[in-house]
Amino acid sequence: MPVTTTKTAFWRGLRGGSPFILGAAPFGILFGVIATEAGLNIVEVMSMGVLVIAGASQFTALSQMQENAPVIMVLAAALAVNMRMAMYSAALAPHLGAAPFWQRAIAAYILVDNSYAVSAAEFERRPDQSISAKMAFYFGCALPVWIIWYAATLGGAMLGQTIPPEFALDFAVPIAFLAILAPLLRTLAHVAAALTSMVLGLALAFLPYSSGLLIAAAVAMIVGSEVERRMGRALP
């Protein structure tokens, strides 16, 4: 029966997505703490967590704001981090594109690294499921992190007001970023892009309004994709 298949798919998704709670909870807490310490009030912190629901770009916005970058540069840098989600959206569209509009509208809201990775792997393994089973799986695997993200952000925001400055929390943002970055350094192309970004980010740091970062990021993206293209050509 279709209902049974849909339910099974939802539970399978929930199991697939649950391990990511461990990764999302600390980041949510950390974001809540840092954003509060930086001077945002609890409504602003929660609004950002709920409306953006993308840790890396929230940290990017925050660190740009701590440098007092102009609003437009804060947005440019933070949105640049999220451009990868266009790729996720394109990758899931062949599987979820036939679902009702309202379902796709909600699915887009909870499209994050882990819901993409888990469901893309599932749809590759079982491409012949019905559209409703695929959607059920997708919501199942996104749900744990979705809920945890709100709770952790709120917990962090409440905690943030109580942590004294001796804890050097200024440095929690760089460490959180490096922890996100390190597992991404899977291939030579990723390493090349990261090194380019680092060197140019330092060399162009003198440019006003963080504009050096955008130049560094653009060049690093080109370097990464060029290295991938050339390596791919060299391989059989």
Partner: protein, 108 residues
């Protein structure tokens, strides 16, 4: 941080809306449009292209020391990266970086 409440809300709403539109793009209005291969390839590298350029100056010239390089912070960053690459574990990387930071702040 030195922003008016309006500027903070422009950032929050702009980032929320912009991020949503990026996510909705192909699940919504762009439907079954296909991205050219070179665009997909470029997009694959956005996180690794943005994060190091953002973090490197924060590590070398931390605001908390007035921009002077600080051994504890540099060692903490190296520990976080090394542990992250080695274990692929985000928590191990954060805890290792934090431990090295506090050890360094205590020693130096």
């Amino acid at each position: 941080m030195n922003y008016s409440a309006v500027e903070i809300w422009v950032i929050i709403l702009g980032l929320g809306l912009g991020t949503y539109l990026i996510r909705f793009s192909f699940l919504g209005p762009l439907g079954r449009a296909r991205l050219p291969a070179f665009v997909l390839r470029l997009l694959r590298y956005t996180p690794v292209a943005v994060i190091p350029g953002l973090v490197a100056p924060l590590v070398l010239w931390p605001a908390a020391t007035g921009g002077d390089p600080d051994a504890a912070r540099i060692l903490a960053a190296l520990a976080a990266i090394a542990l992250g690459v080695w274990t692929k574990n985000v928590i191990a990387s954060i805890l290792g970086g934090a431990a090295m930071l506090y050890l360094g702040l205590y020693l130096f």
